[in-house]
């Protein structure tokens, strides 16, 4: 039933999951594989180790500066998952006995935060999972009311991994500060794309990662505001200010820093233009489609749309056979066979999750890709609707 148009070029629109490495990032990493490969040593070590230490320090400065922070406030980790684990478990461990055992997170957090919170529940902590509205926003009054004398930590993401909604973290941070509660935010998808300055926004811990900005996989970081109570969670040596043990990933750190330097405001605006073009075209040209997440207050590189009466994995497979990569919130696509908790969180049902497709843009996408994507998905959805028992496109 399907045509066989296959593009000569693979169109990758799953940049929230992973991005293509920028060659310039690889060049920045190369010396730390082949020339300066020693472990970062103390100032009394041998010269190559000192050079490694300096490279790590330079990278740290770049990363910290991108958040308006001091270098001593930033540690490298293996990625967002580890960063959020350290933040949540580290604060819980530091304050659980002293202050209380209550943690607040939103319902639509990504799995590192959600499952770290669930793990702490097993250790006797009590977790409040805050509802979000139909766009994905946390209600500030609801947040305020959920904080008790027992509350030690609030963890609310900067922007959502699936539907792209950007939270009002300035006011969330304000509430936490006023109540004397540590505030962690997962900025994996906003880092360098949406401004976040720790001098202006009262946030204590920030999770970031290189894999979303054309940097290498396996390197991320955690911003830790000076004085934030945080117990060490990965034991071993004294690396990363004695907060995260383990041999430093110096090529990764150098690559991460280079990746940050390469992101520009102009590029982000280009991604925003592609996002808007895709959303406008799909919502006007394809009937029975619903945008998931807020129309404007969303990640510049994210679009998420439900195509009613069809299933997401069928769409992604048809697109894959024609050279397009996207992802879906359908249960059939997930490792746990559960529909997207984010779509359920914004009040969606199985049906809305079932046909939801996430498009995320990156440096190597073009407007032509967007037009090809829209044309192809329109065709695929129309064909799948023909065989669906639901809907009207008979």
């Amino acid at each position: 039933m399907m045509g066989d148009t296959v593009l000569d070029r693979f169109v990758y629109l799953d940049n929230a999951a992973a991005t293509r490495l920028d060659e310039r990032v690889l060049e920045a990493m190369r010396p730390y594989f082949f020339d300066i490969y020693a472990v970062a040593t103390s100032e009394f070590g041998y010269s190559q180790g000192i050079e490694a230490q300096e490279a790590l320090g330079e990278a740290r400065k770049v990363l910290a500066a991108a958040l308006g922070a001091e270098a001593e406030e930033f540690i490298f980790t293996s990625g967002s998952t580890e960063s959020s684990n350290i933040a949540i478990k580290g604060v819980a461990q530091a304050l659980g006995q002293k202050k209380g055992k209550h943690i607040v997170v939103s319902k639509i957090e990504d799995f590192p935060v959600l499952n770290s919170a669930r793990a702490m529940e097993k250790q006797g902590f009590h977790v409040t999972y805050l509802d979000v509205d139909s766009d994905g926003f946390v209600d500030l009054d609801n947040l305020r009311n959920s904080i008790t004398d027992e509350t030690i930590l609030v963890s609310i993401q900067h922007a959502n991994q699936e539907i792209g909604t950007i939270q009002d973290i300035e006011n969330i941070g304000g509430i936490c500060k006023e109540k004397g509660v540590v505030f962690h935010t997962d900025a994996t998808h906003t880092f360098t794309r949406v401004p976040l300055d720790v001098k202006k926004i009262p946030v204590d811990l920030i999770t970031v990662s290189a894999h979303t900005i054309h940097g290498p996989k396996g390197i991320g970081g955690l911003y830790i505001r000076g004085g934030t109570p945080l117990s060490k969670w990965v034991d071993g040596g004294f690396q990363e200010f004695n907060l995260r043990a383990g041999l430093e990933n110096i090529p990764g750190a150098a690559g991460f820093a280079r990746a940050v330097e390469l992101v520009t405001v102009e590029e982000t605006e280009r991604l925003r233009a592609m996002r808007d073009h895709l959303i406008d075209r799909i919502l006007t040209e394809i009937p029975d489609t619903t945008l998931n997440g807020h129309r404007c207050n969303r990640l510049p590189q994210n679009a998420n749309i439900t195509f009613h009466f069809v299933e997401g994995e069928s769409i992604t497979l048809h697109l894959d056979m024609r050279g397009f990569a996207v992802s879906t919130g359908s249960a059939c696509f997930s490792r746990s066979l559960e529909g997207s908790h984010v779509i359920f969180g914004i009040g969606g049902d199985h049906e809305r999750a079932h046909g939801s497709i996430r498009f995320t843009f990156g440096r190597y996408n073009t407007m032509e890709d967007v037009d090809n994507m829209v044309g192809t998905i329109a065709e695929v959805v129309q064909e799948l609707r023909k065989i669906s028992p639901l809907g009207r496109n008979k």
Partner: protein
């Protein structure tokens, strides 16, 4: 390119056979899985002389496995007697498709159930079904054999995930030998509910976990 399915699955996915509706069919069914959202409708016409399937069509609101299985069972069932068609198993459909990923069992079982339900619908309409029997532990266990354990690709009874089943005054209580936070706990709970709830004399279904 590397796809997660066999060539035959992809072929049926791209070019599904016998798709669509039959107007005024002799029998029809719609089987849905709220747990994953997939849905299949099956329409049949029966030759009353031979009791064989004269025509069969399907529609799918589902993933690739669901579409491909719907397609292959229409080919397997066409021309068979009702009794033969009822006996077509998931395994036969999966084999005919050159294999299906285990985790996708539950999406594809739906098509088999759709076919059986369409035949049952025909039999009910033509007075070929006996009286309704009361739900017993045995009836529940038989239904649970249709609930798949996604880790094994086999049903939850055969993979020893059912710790106990109780039936008391319309309440069915199923205890699973699984922690409540298991990766597939909620998916399997929903599937169990959807299999047991339609039984005519069941008012409530409770699924519990062992820890």
């Amino acid at each position: 390119m590397k796809f997660p399915y066999s060539e035959t699955v992809l072929e049926h996915f791209r070019h599904p056979r016998n798709v669509g509706k039959i107007e005024n069919p002799d029998g029809k069914s719609t089987e849905g899985s709220p747990a994953c959202g997939d849905m299949v409708s099956v329409y049949i016409n029966v030759d009353p002389e031979t009791n064989r399937l004269a025509d069969i069509k399907f529609e799918s609101y589902g993933c690739a496995s669901n579409i491909a299985t719907g397609s292959i069972i229409t080919e397997l069932a066409m021309g068979k007697t009702l009794d033969e068609a009822k006996k077509i198993t998931w395994k036969q459909a999966a084999d005919a498709l050159g294999g299906l990923p285990k985790i996708k069992t539950h999406c594809s079982v739906l098509a088999i159930e759709g076919l059986r339900a369409a035949i049952q619908n025909y039999e009910e309409r033509h007075g070929l079904v006996k009286e309704q029997k009361p739900t017993t532990v045995e009836v529940v266990r038989r239904r649970l054999k249709k609930v798949m354990n996604p880790l094994a690709g086999l049903d939850v009874v055969r993979t020893n995930l059912i710790k106990s089943v109780d039936v008391e005054e319309g309440t069915v209580r199923v205890v699973m030998d699984l922690p409540a936070d298991h990766q597939f706990a909620s998916a399997m709970r929903e599937e169990i509910m959807e299999k047991i709830e339609p039984l005519w004399d069941v008012q409530e279904v409770v699924v519990e976990f062992s820890e």
